[in-house]
C-alpha cells in the first residue's frame, strides 16, 4: 500500500503497488485476502477505482458496520503494508472504450466506484463518447469523488454528472430529497446521437432493482442494462 486517501467519513481510497500488473478493464474488481497470525483468512472483493498508473492500482473501500475487512482497510492499514490480491476479475460489468454508444452510469452510494473507473478511463484516453453519471447519495457529504467529478464535468467534452440526494440536499438543489424516481433517470437531452445507450447500474440490491426497473420502463432494452449489486436485502 503506497497511499490512503479519505474520500468521505466512511470511504477511503487505497493505492496499491502491484508486481506484474498487466492492466485491467474499467469496471473490473480484485479480491483482497487478509491473513491473521493464527492462519485465519478473510477475502472480500473491491472494485478498482481507476486505470492502473505506473503499476499502482486504486480501490475505494466503504467501511461497513461490523465489516472485518473494510474496517481493517479503512482504519488499521498503513502505508507500507502488504496484502494478497487476486485479479483483475469480472469480464461482464466492464465498459468497452471502443464502443461508441453513449454511456449512462447509475450509482447508489459506493456503487460509484467501478463507474468512476470508467469515467477516469474515458478521461485519460481522451474519449468523446457521451457519458452521463447519475449518483444517488444520502447527503452532499457522501459524494465520493465529488470534487473530481465536478472538475471533470466542467471541462469541455467532460462527462455530465447529476447527484440525487435521498436525505439532505444542498440549498441550491431544486429536487426534494428522496429515493430514486423514474423521471430521475429520464434524460433524453443527453443523447443526441440517437444511438442506444449502454447502461451500467451499481449499488445496493434494492437500489439496483429499482433503477433497472425504471430504465426498463423508460424504454432501455434489457440487454443494454448491466448490473452489479452488493449486500442483501
Amino acid at each position: 500500500m503506497t497511499a490512503s486517501r479519505v474520500e468521505t467519513a466512511t470511504a477511503h481510497t487505497l493505492s496499491l503497488r502491484v508486481d506484474e500488473w498487466n492492466g485491467h478493464l474499467p469496471g473490473q474488481h480484485i479480491d483482497v485476502r487478509l491473513t491473521a497470525p493464527d492462519g485465519y483468512q478473510a477475502v472480500r472483493s473491491y472494485s478498482l477505482a481507476a486505470p492502473a498508473l505506473d503499476g499502482v492500482i486504486e480501490i475505494t473501500v466503504q467501511r461497513l458496520p461490523g465489516g472485518e475487512v473494510s474496517g481493517f482497510l479503512t482504519d488499521t492499514a498503513m502505508v507500507g503494508d502488504q496484502f494478497e490480491i487476486r485479479g483483475p476479475l469480472g469480464n461482464w460489468f466492464v465498459w468497452d472504450q471502443d464502443d461508441p454508444s453513449p454511456v449512462l452510469l447509475v450509482a447508489g452510494g459506493s456503487g460509484v466506484v467501478p463507474l468512476m473507473s470508467m469515467i477516469r478511463a474515458r478521461d485519460r484516453a481522451d474519449i468523446q463518447t457521451p457519458l452521463h453519471l447519475i449518483h444517488s447519495v444520502r447527503t452532499p457529504q457522501d459524494r465520493i469523488y465529488g470534487d473530481e467529478l465536478t472538475r471533470l464535468a466542467a471541462r469541455a467534452g467532460g462527462p455530465s454528472v447529476t447527484w440525487l440526494y435521498t436525505r439532505t440536499a444542498p440549498p441550491t438543489e431544486t429536487r426534494p430529497p428522496g429515493r430514486l424516481r423514474r423521471d430521475d433517470l429520464d434524460d433524453g437531452s443527453t443523447w443526441t446521437s440517437g444511438a442506444t445507450p449502454i447502461c451500467f447500474v451499481c449499488g445496493p440490491t434494492g437500489f439496483v432493482e429499482e433503477a433497472a426497473n425504471h430504465l426498463l420502463a423508460s424504454g432501455h432494452p434489457a440487454d443494454r442494462i448491466r448490473t452489479e449489486r452488493f449486500g442483501g436485502r
Binding site: 487478509l34 491473513t35 491473521a36 497470525p37 492462519g39 485465519y40 483468512q41 478473510a42 477475502v43 472480500r44 472483493s45 461490523g66 472485518e68 481493517f72 488499521t76 492499514a77 498503513m78 503494508d81 502488504q82 496484502f83 494478497e84 476479475l89 469480472g90 469480464n91 461482464w92 460489468f93 440490491t205 439496483v208 432493482e209 433497472a212 426497473n213 430504465l215 426498463l216 434489457a222 440487454d223 442494462i225 448491466r226 448490473t227 449489486r229 452488493f230 449486500g231 442483501g232 436485502r233
Partner: protein, 199 residues
C-alpha cells in the same frame, strides 16, 4: 506462501464444518444478477426439457405446480463468498422431470428467461441432487431471487442454480454458459474452490 497481514486479527466469525473454503456465513440472501430482473407472468410461463430444437416435455405453470413436490433443506454457496446454511425450498426433482426422457446426452445447458445460460453435467442434476424450485422459506420465490422458478443445484456454486429457468437443454458438449464464457469455472465445485477457469 501465506502472507500474514500486519495488524489483522480478524473477527473469527462463526464457522461450521459445512462451510467450504474461502466462504463466510450470512443470514442475508444477497442478489447477484447480470442485468435487470425479468418480469415473468405465471400465466405465460412454461418450462420445458429440450433436445436440440425439439421440446421433449413442456409444462405450463398450472401443470408444473400440480407435479409432486419435495421439501428441500440445503446449504448454498455463492462464488462471491457468502454461504447460507439450511435454506428451505419447495420444488420438483429433476429426476421426476426427466423420468420418461431417454437421452445419450451427457450435459445440460440451463436456459433462463432474460437470456441467461449455464452449463452442467447431466449427472449433477440426477439422483436427488437438483430441483426446479418455486418456493423459498415457505413463500413464492421472489423475482430477484429467480421467481417464478429457478434451478436449484446446491452442491455447485450458486450461479449454476439458474434463476428464471425456462428450459433444460440436453446437449452432447459442455459448451460454456453466460458466466462460464466470462471466465467462471465450467464445473464450480465450492469444496474445491472452482471459482474461475483454471482453478
Amino acid at each position: 506462501m501465506v502472507h500474514v497481514t500486519r495488524g489483522f486479527t480478524g473477527r473469527h466469525p462463526a464457522t461450521d464444518d459445512r462451510l467450504p473454503p474461502g466462504q463466510y456465513l450470512t443470514d442475508d440472501f444477497p442478489v447477484l444478477s447480470a442485468g435487470p430482473t425479468p418480469a415473468i407472468r405465471r400465466d405465460e410461463w412454461t418450462f420445458s426439457v429440450r433436445d436440440g430444437d425439439q421440446a421433449l416435455r413442456s409444462w405450463t405453470w398450472d401443470e408444473f405446480t400440480a407435479l409432486a413436490t419435495e421439501d428441500i433443506t440445503v446449504d448454498i454457496h455463492c462464488v462471491t463468498r457468502w454461504s447460507r446454511l439450511d435454506t428451505t425450498w419447495r420444488g420438483v426433482a429433476i429426476d421426476d422431470l426427466l423420468a420418461d426422457v431417454d437421452t445419450a446426452a451427457e450435459y445440460v445447458l440451463a436456459r433462463s428467461y432474460g437470456g441467461y445460460t449455464t452449463n452442467l453435467p447431466l449427472e449433477d442434476l440426477l439422483d436427488g441432487k437438483a430441483w426446479i424450485a418455486y418456493e423459498h422459506d415457505g413463500e413464492d420465490l421472489p423475482p430477484e431471487h429467480g421467481g417464478p422458478a429457478r434451478l436449484l443445484v446446491p452442491h455447485l456454486y450458486f450461479w449454476k442454480s439458474a434463476k428464471w429457468i425456462k428450459s433444460l437443454d440436453l446437449v452432447d458438449d459442455d459448451d460454456p454458459g453466460f458466466w462460464e464464457t466470462l471466465g467462471y469455472h465450467d464445473y464450480g465445485d465450492p469444496w474445491r474452490e472452482q471459482r474461475y477457469q483454471g482453478d
